[in-house]
């Protein structure tokens, strides 16, 4: 019933905006804004909860009868202070940053060269090499972590952040290569041909022409790699043993969760601080991020 009545109204509203404006306005409210607000509310609530718990004194944290749990009456920095000064949290943050930057750099170099070779140097079988590298992305870390742990031990890298820097590219390189192949494809081949005719070497072409033009692609590949390596958990859990060398996600779970009484304030503060670098980094480049995810389809 509503469909048959409302349907012409959409078409009519386009032709004569005033006549059915109220009807379509209400319809929009119910069909778009209301569900959208619910989605946003539910998707963001855990972060709000994480943030508010980080600043709540323990008395309010454990007492919903006298304090409204959704608000803080006397915010405190005690949890964050505890985290920064009584735990190795700064060290964990540093290690995570080091690992993320190291593996991102390594992956970007490897995948830029690979994408260049596959897309620009074109050789027999290059599509298959591309497909092979891409298929590597479909091999989940959950299958690999046990044999990889023995490989890491063989190489004498057990308990070293270096192991993570070398292992993370296995899931970063396929992704970045695939992303960069797409970017290289969008750069006109004629530009390189002109440079070749002018006598530039292949490496000069890569450095002076292709790379500068692929900067947006490099940035989005870099952001993806950084967030993915910041996020990684299972390898870091399996390969790192000593408390000081752990990455933030692993350390919070294995070092901060102790005993029967969880320190929720400190745990949430740790989660919040651990999420912030990624969130800040992401927000700086969010346009690249979203547009590369939405397939560079822009309005």
């Amino acid at each position: 019933m509503t469909d048959t009545v409302a349907q012409p109204s959409v078409a009519d509203a386009k032709a004569a905006p005033d006549t059915m404006a109220w009807d379509s306005g209400l319809r929009r409210l119910m069909m778009i804004y209301l569900p959208l607000s619910c989605f946003v509310l539910i998707l963001l609530f855990p972060f709000y909860w994480m943030a508010i718990t980080s600043f709540k004194p323990n008395a309010e944290l454990m007492n919903y009868k006298e304090h409204n749990p959704f608000w803080i009456t006397s915010p405190t920095l005690a949890h964050i202070k505890h985290l920064l000064f009584n735990t190795a949290y700064p060290r964990w943050l540093w290690t995570t940053m080091l690992v993320a930057i190291g593996s991102t750099t390594l992956s970007l170099i490897a995948s830029t060269l690979a994408a260049y070779a596959i897309e620009r140097l074109r050789f027999r079988g290059s599509p298959y090499v591309g497909l092979g590298i891409y298929l590597a992305y479909l091999v989940p870390p959950s299958i690999l972590f046990i044999p990889l742990a023995t490989v890491v031990v063989q190489f004498g890298l057990f308990d070293s952040p270096m192991a993570l820097i070398l292992v993370y590219p296995t899931f970063l390189v396929p992704f970045c290569t695939w992303l960069l192949i797409g970017y290289f494809k969008s750069i006109p081949y004629e530009l390189e041909e002109c440079a070749l005719v002018d006598g530039a070497t292949r490496l000069q072409i890569l450095r002076r022409i292709t790379l500068p033009l692929a900067v947006p692609g490099l940035i989005s590949a870099g952001i993806f790699s950084f967030t993915l390596s910041w996020n990684e958990f299972i390898y870091a859990l399996a390969f790192i043993q000593s408390g000081a060398n752990k990455t933030v996600p692993v350390a919070i779970l294995t070092e901060l969760v102790t005993g029967d009484v969880y320190q929720w304030g400190a745990l949430m503060a740790g989660s919040l601080l651990g999420s912030l670098p990624v969130a800040v980094f992401y927000s700086l480049f969010v346009d690249y991020y979203v547009s590369s995810l939405t397939g560079a389809v822009k309005e």
């Binding site: 060269l113 989940p140 044999p147 070497t201 399996a238 919070i252 779970l253 989660s271 651990g274 990624v278």
Partner: protein, 318 residues
């Protein structure tokens, strides 16, 4: 003839060293360009994958080289109720979570495809659950599921008075299973929504205009235009989603570690418990390898089941 002296001068810098010339030799350059990526993947992906399959047929433990034992590990797994449990929960977890993610993600994508103010800002913040490290948001869920101080219990008991007692989310098997699935869906919605939004934006508006002129209802337009046009991208995103949901580890490890009573073990967490924590590398590897058939089946099913539609509709395959 002063002109003749010019070409040698101009050519002078064009006599590069043997190194530069070597890099201009295409086969060499190709090998050099591919070496880092292929090398990394060979050493840290292909070799471990092979090694993992080999380990699955040995009785290796931490600190002791194993010997080949044939199918013993797998025969043992078939009699192991915990393995069957993990298979059951992995399939259930993947099935319900994938369905939830795609139903809600598709809906969110359709909503985001409308015009409204602050659209790009909204798209940006909606991706947050996907950006933030899973373990850290899982910890937030753990706290949300706390038996005593759960905010959901507070809402249901003290605010809405719908229940008389707090829900013990993670204390017994079924509530724990569904709590984890809910957290997984929450985390997966943004990625599905943004990927499908990309697909939605490639559908030409003229198709909808033509359908509107023919008097198609909103549902008909969705059923006969949006849905079939989205099939290829749905197939790809779903294949990815199934692979990564089935092999999920972080969420379960962070929230329940397989408990209560081993009821929420996924194959990945069981493999970790046996292989790394328990030291039985061979058995752990066998559990990890036992995921492969499920993954292959799920991939083929989702990919061909959905992508098949593409050529049925007479579109070109690419």
């Amino acid at each position: 003839m002063s002109v003749t002296t010019l070409p040698p001068l101009a050519l002078a810098p064009r006599q590069p060293s043997w190194l530069v010339r070597l890099f201009d030799y295409k086969p060499f350059l190709i090998v050099m360009c591919l070496a880092p990526a292929v090398g990394l993947l060979a050493v840290f992906l292909t070799y471990p994958l092979g090694l993992g399959i080999w380990l699955a047929f040995t009785d290796t433990t931490i600190g002791r080289k194993g010997v080949f034992v044939g199918f013993e590990n797998f025969q043992y797994l078939l009699t192991d109720s915990l393995w069957w449990n993990a298979v059951f929960y992995s399939v259930l977890y993947t099935g319900i979570a994938t369905f939830g993610k795609f139903a809600l993600g598709f809906w969110l994508a359709l909503l985001l495809n409308n015009h409204f103010p602050f659209k790009s800002l909204l798209r940006a913040i909606i991706l947050l659950p996907w950006i933030v490290p899973t373990v850290l948001s899982a910890l937030a869920f753990w706290w949300i599921y706390d038996p005593q101080f759960s905010i959901i219990s507070y809402l249901l008991v003290d605010v809405l008075h719908w229940r008389s007692s707090n829900i013990d989310f993670l204390g017994s098997p079924w509530p724990a299973r569904f709590s984890l699935i809910a957290a997984n869906i929450w985390r997966g919605i943004p990625f599905v929504a943004i990927s499908l939004l990309a697909g939605l934006q490639t559908i030409s508006p003229s198709l909808y205009e033509a359908a509107m002129l023919d008097g198609a209802s909103a549902w008909q337009r969705f059923r006969y235009i949006t849905f079939p046009m989205m099939m290829p991208i749905l197939a790809i995103v779903m294949t990815f989603s199934i692979i990564f949901t089935f092999t999920d580890f972080q969420l379960v490890y962070a929230i329940t570690r397989g408990g209560p009573g081993n009821s929420t073990h996924l194959l990945a967490t069981l493999a970790f418990q046996r292989g790394i924590a328990g030291g039985e590398l061979g058995e752990g590897a066998a559990i990890a390898v036992s995921m492969i058939p499920f993954l292959v089946f799920a991939t083929l099913f989702s990919y061909f089941g959905l992508a098949r539609r593409k050529w049925q509709q007479g579109e070109s395959n690419d």
